[in-house]
């Protein structure tokens, strides 16, 4: 069923922005087409147009050479186009199976009435997951799953349509290495069947592993397409940014000797136990570990998002056992959660409001504040992070994924913290923005501010940190110095039990 997906002069305008500017691209069946570009380039917008979720301002879409009009996601499904979105679109209160088959639950007749055929629902959902070679209980509530597992459900949902076109918008940004491998296997199988695959990613190192062609967009414009076999990393980066400066880890970066945060015997039932470590002044301390190792839970507990039930945290000469986010903020701790949509941003509020969220008290005098005053803070942060957006008064939801992530980090910079807890801060951001975040960590380090940095991308940890703790099954199992081992070695240490 070799199929072809094309656009002709697609243009999409938003108030104040042109997200896509006369883009004409073509994707053939049987190949994996990587779609790349920096944050806000227009990748997600293009995908949403193919998915029928967003209407183009002008231009045409063609499927197999025939013009089609996709007024709604339903129209797109009818054309066999399925999408895995960047921001999750699952219903947390429903089971995995219901989410996968949402709107298409099989029914059966009982006494003349049509009722949901539950055994069939579970069986069919399980079949989809089996086809993907993942094991996940289809009866579990999606809200109870972690990010990676939710991502798998999202992919399973798209797969269940038996699509002839499937688009992935940064599917691996929440996945660990072995899960990524499974996904790649799946994608290759699909491609072999002639399915058109459009694949968006910021992880350029994935491209040689999975992509057949790379298509680059920049600032809403189509820059070009290259066969992966011919493209080198340099040419790709050149196409994405024009020019890019790779920042080197500064040589003068030293961690202090004065402890700022001490964690003693910290435990949370079923999540982690007996965690001990010390974070020094100006240190960038990484935590490496697989999904489910308890690293996110540990960070959340340190910030008081969840209570811990054993041990203590010593910070600023004070020992705390009962923590709340507002107390930790007052003690100089900042926290960027892994799930920006649910936990970090107020989607309907403006970028300005979100950037000021954590430092309202600081910005105001005696509780009074004005937009003008907030704007000067916001402008400074926007410049420091180079957030790309038309207007800080627009809802933060209108920013591209990567730019939203920058807002999440940005809102804490204004609180003048002592320690920042970063949970996957580089999720979904482009190479250049990643460098900016690293640069921020290093700058903070120079100012004596420490970072605790959790990331699934081990390369990042090796590049940025002074020291890396290894976490497994809820406990810390040793520490390593970057520079003394390779990514592969670190990976092995995180995986295996010695």
């Amino acid at each position: 069923m070799a199929c072809q997906l094309q656009t002709e002069n697609i243009r999409k305008e938003y108030p104040g922005t042109v997200a896509l500017d006369n883009v004409s691209v073509s994707f053939d069946g049987g190949k994996v087409h990587a779609l790349i570009g920096k944050n806000g380039a227009g990748k997600s917008t293009l995908v949403k147009i193919f998915a029928g979720a967003v209407q183009p301002t002008s231009g045409r879409i063609l499927v197999d050479g025939q013009p089609v009009v996709l007024r709604s996601p339903r129209d797109a499904f009818a054309q066999g186009i399925a999408t895995v979105y960047q921001e999750m679109s699952l219903v947390p209160g429903l089971s995995v199976a219901e989410n996968i088959l949402l709107g298409r639950l099989p029914h059966k007749k009982v006494l003349g009435a049509s009722v949901i055929d539950w055994p069939a629902v579970f069986a069919r959902a399980r079949a989809v997951l089996d086809g993907m070679q993942v094991s996940l209980d289809v009866r579990r509530q999606v809200g109870d799953l972690g990010m990676a597992q939710q991502q798998i459900v999202e992919i399973a949902k798209a797969m269940s349509f038996n699509p002839s076109v499937i688009m992935f918008d940064e599917p691996t940004s929440a996945l660990a290495q072995h899960e990524t491998q499974t996904l790649f296997g799946l994608i290759r199988t699909l491609a072999a069947k002639g399915v058109v695959i459009v694949y968006i990613t910021h992880r350029l190192q994935e491209l040689p592993l999975i992509a057949d062609t790379v298509t680059v967009v920049r600032d809403g414009r189509y820059i070009g397409t290259a066969a992966m076999a011919q493209a080198t990393p340099q040419t790709i980066v050149q196409m994405m940014f024009g020019e890019v400066v790779q920042k080197e880890r500064p040589a003068d970066l030293k961690a202090g000797t004065e402890p700022v945060l001490q964690v003693r015997g910290l435990g949370q039932k079923g999540k982690f136990h007996d965690v001990n470590f010390t974070l020094y002044r100006g240190e960038v301390l990484g935590i490496a570990g697989m999904l489910g190792s308890g690293r996110t839970e540990l960070l959340r507990a340190l910030f008081g998002a969840e209570a811990f039930d054993a041990g203590e945290i010593v910070i600023g000469g004070r020992s705390v056992r009962t923590v709340t986010p507002s107390l930790m903020k007052d003690l100089g701790v900042a926290f960027t959660p892994e799930n920006r949509k649910e936990q970090a941003l107020v989607q309907i509020l403006s970028t300005r409001a979100n950037l000021c969220l954590a430092s309202l008290d600081r910005i105001s005098t005696l509780g009074f504040t004005t937009r003008r005053r907030e704007r000067s803070v916001v402008n400074r942060l926007v410049a420091r992070l180079s957030v790309r957006m038309p207007d800080t008064e627009q809802p933060v939801s209108s920013l591209s994924g990567g730019n939203q992530q920058k807002v999440v980090v940005g809102k804490w910079l204004n609180t003048e913290p002592r320690v920042i807890l970063f949970d996957e801060p580089t999720r979904g951001i482009d190479v250049q923005a990643k460098q900016q975040i690293f640069q921020i960590m290093w700058d903070l380090s120079r100012q004596g501010i420490s970072s605790l940095f959790v990331s699934s991308e081990l390369e990042e940890l090796l590049e940025v940190c002074h020291r890396i703790l290894i976490m497994k099954k809820g406990t810390l199992r040793g520490e390593v110095q970057p520079g003394t081992l390779s990514v592969d070695e670190l990976f092995v240490r995180c995986m295996t039990d010695e």
Binding site: D219, L360, T369, K411
Partner: protein, 327 residues
């Protein structure tokens, strides 16, 4: 990224002021068709009538923006009026023998404090035990109305001195006293919501309570405070109402909760939380006031009023949704 031409700016402005334009159109229509609409006397009357509900609507705006609701405000109006009346009678009566002046003052203070306490309890139950405010205030709605009947034993209480009427029916510098309180409340709440960090926190909590909490905002404070504020405003309104009718009656303000919520919604505040404007509520309140006044002046059957109000709520919501749903 070439910027778009202006002109969309003007359109945006028009789109954001739909209710203002509709209100203006209604006033122009009534000026021509309803005799006596354009007189100063009529204007002040509309303002006075609207003020009692209007003050509560201001507080309700904060509550709804914070993602909560208060269904007990009508009962609170009746309860606080009755409580003030009963207390006044008791304190000035033979048992205590206070002067009428101090008895009235003390009763007012006590009623407002009681209301603040009740609001705090609702907020506390919300944050501590996650009881939805819909449920708690539904319970209060019944409890407070019933308590008002118990206090008054079913008959209006009339212990108030002549001058007490001033706070509900009097004029200050030619303006009805309740209207002055209403305008003052408007100014305070407008400032609170637009120019304080508390106001920003209310929006954040209503928009995404978890993100607000993880930004170190004290979510419980916000929720407790907004519930207390709306209850306090309802009590003030109840006191002024009792002064206007010079008695505490358990039958006052029946169905007000829905009228108040209507005004807030007509003003563009979203029941989903996180979105809304105090100014919009002011427009909504005036709108409903003018509409009822116009219908009365044009001697339209009063049974039409609820029908028109209902249609209006739906219309306003559709208008407010129109720009965002055209994605």
């Amino acid at each position: 990224m070439p910027p778009l031409e202006s002109g969309s700016r003007v359109r945006a402005l028009l789109r954001n002021s739909v209710m203002e334009i509709v209100l203006l159109a209604l006033c122009i229509f009534l000026a021509f068709r309803a005799d006596g609409f354009l007189s100063m006397q009529n204007f002040l009357n509309v303002l006075r009538t609207a003020s009692f509900r209007g003050m509560i609507a201001l507080g309700m705006t904060m509550v709804i923006i914070a993602g909560e609701i208060d269904l007990s405000v009508g009962s609170m109006v009746a309860f606080s009026g009755c409580l003030a009346a009963w207390l006044t009678g008791y304190l000035a009566g033979p048992a205590c023998g206070m002067s009428l002046g101090s008895a009235v003052t003390l009763s007012i203070v006590a009623s407002v404090l009681a209301a603040l306490g009740i609001g705090c309890i609702t907020g506390f139950l919300r944050v501590r035990f996650e009881v939805p405010t819909f449920i708690t205030t539904l319970a209060w709605m019944s409890v407070l109305r019933g308590s008002a009947s118990l206090i008054t034993k079913g008959f209006p209480l009339t212990p108030f001195p002549e001058w007490y009427n001033f706070i509900g029916g009097g004029y200050l510098l030619g303006i009805p006293f309740p209207a002055i309180i209403f305008i003052a409340s408007f100014a305070i709440i407008q400032v609170l919501m637009s120019y304080t960090s508390f106001g920003r926190a209310v929006y954040a909590v209503g928009g995404n309570a978890e993100a607000a909490r993880l930004s170190g905002i004290k979510v419980y404070q916000v929720k407790v405070l907004v519930m207390a504020i709306v209850a306090g405003l309802a009590a003030l309104s109840g006191i002024m109402q009792s002064a206007q009718i010079m008695s505490g009656s358990h039958k006052t303000a029946e169905g007000w909760e829905l009228e108040v919520i209507s005004a807030v919604i007509i003003g563009g505040t979203s029941l989903m939380g996180g979105v809304g404007r105090v100014w919009g509520t002011l427009i909504g309140v005036v709108f409903l006031g003018v509409l009822v006044n116009g219908m009365t002046l044009m001697s339209i059957d009063e049974y039409w009023q609820p029908v028109v109000r209902g249609a209006l709520i739906l219309g306003a919501v559709l208008i407010n949704l129109a720009p965002s749903s055209r994605k």
